[in-house]
């Protein structure tokens, strides 16, 4: 059979066409599946091939004082990171980078580990590199093809050490936090609040990081725009408005006795808002804003003056005389005394009870006093007898109701709980005996097993300055008001207590030299025992307002080893109150403030006349 007859040829040509059509048709079908049917999957993979996601850090919210002045804000800083690539190439880049960028040993080891582990995320070498080092790397862009330098917001504290304790500081998130559910989804390099307001309102201030992409080639080198594109915008953190008064804090810092430790608390009477929370000595929180300098941290930690310690809320001191205000309020509320009552035993320098003599601080005695004068003179003998009228059980119950054994509930971390016997079992537990009724004598004058933070002592004065109620002191202006404690006493009774305090700064009072030209200062001195053989800690607490007007501000100062309250603590409080109130009432501020200042400056002191009530 001739296979080349045209019939035969046609038959084979048809078969050949079918064969070719089938093969090419199958290929077209395969391409249809890849390019049309499943194209979305492959497109996604193509995108993830060429695009590396980069985190766009969200700027933290600004923290502002009551006038809108910044207490914490952001300035641009530089971060340096290495884009993900093969571990070997990342390690060698890291090694080379060390010549230009200072990386401490611990961090370097951590970064090496991260580079070995791989993953699509860039590794963050530095969140806050100095400009000179960044410039050195930028100049050598050719040998650092996978290095990314970005500006990122860096925290700045304009008032530095003045607000360090209350504002707090920030730091890079650590491994434990990254593993915790609270920071789910957080990435290394995230800046989080470490203390103070920064910690307390972390979730408000934080904001949400954005994402952008840089295009890389098969070896991980960045191509095209270094700035990246296709952003998911970051959401900045919310700003935070505080009751704090930045100028007042700066003033307090200026007038606080040089080289001494202590605390100053200022509260707004109307709201209980915290106007100032100042602790000395302090530190500059700006050094913690980026990568923590280990040496600086160690130095602060070892400092015997404990500059990291927030004395306004974390330190506890025996309250001393200011506690007598509470004793008075408890007694008035219980109806066991009236403002005009004089105690059966006049003060002759001591009081006999339970087979021993309880001393007054003034050996020659005060004589017979009413409540106002007892407060003015801080007479122990008067308050011993008030304490006995109240009785130990009632005293313990009432004071514990007020929460003096606990915390004020200020919106800050690491507030120390006050110490106050919660009941008779306290003595058994601590001293091994049941309390006798006489214990109330000590408690009534603020002695014995009592310790309070300066903030809590300021709350006593708040109760007196207001209508007997003392809301929990608060920093954040948006926080809902919280109940602190409340005394059910009449306005007349309160006015008598205030009159007692007012007399402290009148002629004959212990803080007369701290009286002010334009304002009534209603104060109370106090001393608290310190360590054996050293000066006592000095207390002065006061409420102040326009002469003859309502109290507007409460200021409490504790100066460690400051001796008696009237020498260093009282002028401090008076000058802080004067500074604030002058600002409030449009009176020009002046560095000559107290009566003592006027006398030293030889100014006219005619305003400091004795009032009719004064003796």
């Amino acid at each position: 059979m001739n296979k080349y007859h045209h019939h035969q040829r046609r038959l084979r040509a048809v078969q050949a066409r079918m064969f070719v059509t089938t093969l090419l048709g199958l290929l077209v079908a395969v391409f249809f599946r890849a390019q049309v049917y499943r194209s979305a999957d492959w497109s996604l993979q193509s995108e993830s091939n060429r695009l590396r996601p980069l985190t766009l850090p969200a700027p933290r919210g600004t923290i502002r004082d009551r006038a809108g002045l910044p207490l914490a804000d952001n300035v641009p800083g530089y971060s340096v990171s290495i884009l993900s690539a093969a571990p070997d190439s990342m390690l060698s880049t890291l090694e080379r980078m060390r010549q230009y960028l200072e990386i401490d040993g611990d961090r370097y080891r951590r970064l090496e580990e991260q580079a070995r582990a791989g993953g699509p995320q860039p590794i963050l070498v530095s969140v806050d590199a100095p400009f000179e080092e960044v410039a050195a790397i930028e100049e050598r862009r050719a040998i650092f093809p996978r290095v990314l330098i970005e500006t990122r917001p860096k925290r700045r504290y304009p008032v530095g050490e003045i607000g360090a304790h209350v504002i707090g500081s920030v730091g890079e998130i650590n491994q434990a936090e990254l593993d915790s559910p609270e920071f789910e989804g957080a990435e290394p390099g995230l800046i989080v609040g470490r203390s103070g307001i920064e910690w307390q309102y972390e979730s408000t201030l934080q904001g949400e990081a954005g994402v952008r992409y840089v295009e890389v080639d098969a070896t991980g080198r960045i191509v095209g725009s270094f700035r990246g594109f296709r952003r998911v915008e970051e959401t900045p953190g919310q700003d935070l408005d505080l009751h704090l008064d930045r100028e007042l804090m700066e003033w307090i810092h200026q007038i606080f006795p040089e080289g001494m430790g202590g605390a100053v608390v200022a509260l707004e009477v109307e709201t209980g808002g915290i106007l100032a929370l100042y602790s000395a000595p302090s530190y500059d929180p700006n050094v913690f804003a980026g990568v923590v300098d280990q040496e600086e941290w160690d130095r602060l930690n070892r400092d015997p003056q404990s500059p990291l310690f927030n004395r306004t809320i974390s330190a506890k001191y025996p309250p001393g005389s200011p506690m007598k205000l509470i004793t008075a309020l408890v007694a008035l509320e219980a109806g066991v005394i009236t403002p005009s009552d004089r105690m059966p035993v006049a003060c002759g320098g001591g009081y006999s009870y339970g087979g021993r003599v309880w001393r007054c601080w003034r050996e020659e005695g005060h004589g017979s006093l009413d409540l106002a004068d007892a407060i003015k003179n801080s007479c122990n003998v008067y308050f011993y007898q008030v304490g006995l009228r109240i009785g130990l059980a009632r005293m313990l119950e009432r004071v514990n109701d007020m929460g003096f054994g606990g915390r004020c509930g200020v919106d800050l971390p690491s507030e120390a709980a006050g110490t106050y016997p919660e009941g008779p079992e306290f003595w058994v537990r601590r001293y091994g005996y049941s309390p006798r009724e006489g214990e109330v004598l000590n408690l009534a004058i603020g002695q014995g097993p009592i310790e309070q933070t300066p903030l809590m002592v300021a709350q006593y004065f708040l109760a007196v300055a207001r209508d007997g109620s003392a809301p929990a002191p608060t920093l954040y202006r948006g926080a809902p008001p919280r109940e602190g404690f409340r005394f059910d006493v009449s306005e007349e009774a309160l006015e008598v207590v205030r009159e007692g305090l007012r007399r402290v700064t009148r002629q004959g009072g212990t803080a007369y030299l701290s009286s002010l030209e334009h304002f009534d200062l209603l104060g109370k001195t106090g001393t608290a025992q310190s360590v054996e053989g050293r000066e006592t800690h000095a207390w002065f607490g006061a409420t102040a307002g326009l002469r003859g007007g309502e109290p507007e501000i409460v200021v409490v100062a504790l100066v460690e080893f400051g001796g008696g309250g009237s020498e260093v603590a009282a002028p401090l409080v008076a000058r802080a109150a004067d500074f604030y109130l002058r600002g409030q009432h449009g009176i020009p501020r002046d560095t000559i403030q107290t009566l003592r200042d006027y006398i030293n400056a030889r100014r006219n002191t005619a305003w400091a006349v004795p009032t009719p009530e004064a003796r």
């Binding site: 045209h6 050949a16 066409r17 390019q35 193509s46 060429r50 080639d217």
Partner: protein, 412 residues
């Protein structure tokens, strides 16, 4: 019409398809050079391809003037010459570019060329001459002994280079030629059976089932086969099944990997699997309309391997999308249909068989090359006719086309 007297002009659908594919190739090679970080390997090489193309066009015009008888006379000497050159290449040949480890190139006066490409054409000529002697075609298996030997010799020499891709093309030549020579389908299948046996031997069960059906087939066609032939087929199949394992062991690691990653790309994600995965990503992400000419990101950012040679079709897929790939395949289909049509028009067995042999080469290249970019065929270093970058490959494809046109000079 004067032009009508010129074979290349008269057969313009064929030459036009070849030219169109070649120009498309130059365009794609240009695109392959457009990258974010330019590489000297691919940048500007389209100019060299275009120059070779110009020369190739002249070669085609010249060759198409030569009577096909001359080639019939020269078939055996040319074939023997190319066998000799292939043998020499094995001794003094070099690798080149992406085929660095092979001995498949010869340097002659500063030019590199691949003797294997020329051997395809001379083998096609020799095979056509041999098969054309019998008008009634190979009826028996023993009639295929010489054709097997003719193809087997150059095939063995390129396998030794080792260049499995080119070897595959010789298999294409063989089957296309014996098909057009009129070999009955059962005989074609029996001839192919040792190859099937080799492939299927990876599983004892599948191979056993296959072997059983082979015996049944041989029994059905027992009246058309000599006993010796049947025994030969059985022995060849058994031998193929037996040498599969040693043959596998003798393969280079990269060759084994190519086959393994075809079955499972995750086996070698950084090496051979990388090429396959990135090619599939490029093609798949092209979608219907593609990312646009020169705009493929996989290509631009160096994710695609061998983007100017073996994986040029991935660039087509990525940048021109399904529209581009299916149009390119339709063009190849058109070219093949024209060739079938020519073969059908030839009264002369030699010309018809030669055209089919060339069709066999190109079809093999197209199916294997295009198939591997989407992972339906294992990765083989085999270029895409007219489109992949490569001077001697383009020139030899045009030489083959010139011979086809020349043989068709009397066909209207």
């Amino acid at each position: 019409m004067k032009l009508d007297g010129l074979p290349w002009a008269r057969h313009w659908p064929f030459t036009g398809a070849v030219l169109a594919l070649s120009l498309f190739g130059v365009a794609m090679i240009y695109s392959a050079g457009v990258k974010n970080i330019p590489s000297p390997v691919t940048e500007g090489i389209w100019v060299r391809q275009a120059i070779v193309l110009l020369g190739s066009i002249l070669v085609l015009i010249g060759l198409s003037q030569i009577p096909s008888r001359w080639f019939e006379w020269m078939a055996i000497p040319l074939y023997l010459l190319s066998l000799g050159v292939l043998a020499v290449t094995l001794v003094i040949g070099t690798g080149s570019g992406t085929a660095e480890g092979m001995r498949s190139f010869l340097n002659v006066a500063g030019f590199q060329f691949q003797p294997g490409e020329a051997a395809k054409i001379t083998t096609a000529l020799a095979l056509a001459k041999l098969l054309a002697r019998k008008a009634d075609g190979p009826e028996h298996l023993r009639d295929l002994l010489w054709p097997v030997a003719i193809v087997g010799a150059p095939l063995a020499l390129v396998v030794l280079q080792p260049d499995l891709g080119t070897a595959l093309a010789f298999v294409g030549i063989f089957f296309a030629a014996i098909f057009w020579a009129g070999t009955p389908w059962p005989m074609i299948l029996f001839t192919a059976s040792p190859g099937l046996s080799l492939i299927l031997s990876f599983s004892t069960w599948i191979w056993s089932a296959y072997f059983l059906s082979l015996i049944v087939g041989l029994y059905i066609y027992r009246y058309r086969l000599y006993l010796v032939e049947s025994l030969g087929v059985i022995l060849a199949n058994l031998a193929a099944g037996a040498i599969a394992q040693p043959l596998w062991n003798s393969l280079q690691q990269y060759q084994r990997n190519r086959i393994l990653v075809f079955l499972d790309p995750d086996i070698d994600p950084q090496g051979a699997g990388w090429q396959l995965v990135q090619s599939k990503v490029a093609v798949g992400s092209g979608g219907v309309l593609g990312k646009g000419f020169t705009l493929g990101t996989q290509k631009r950012l160096n994710f695609l391997p061998e983007q100017h040679t073996d994986f040029i079709f991935s660039v087509v897929g990525e940048e021109l999308g399904f529209v581009g790939t299916s149009l390119a395949l339709v063009f190849f289909g058109y070219l093949f249909f024209r060739m079938i049509r020519l073969a059908q028009a030839f009264d002369d067995p030699f010309s018809g068989i030669f055209v089919f042999a060339i069709l066999g080469v190109w079809l093999t290249h197209v199916v294997v090359n295009v198939g591997m970019t989407v992972g339906v065929v294992p990765i083989t270093g085999i270029p895409l006719p007219f489109i992949s970058y490569g001077g001697s490959f383009l020139l030899m494809s045009w030489v083959a086309a010139g011979l086809v046109v020349g043989m068709a000079r009397d066909v209207r």
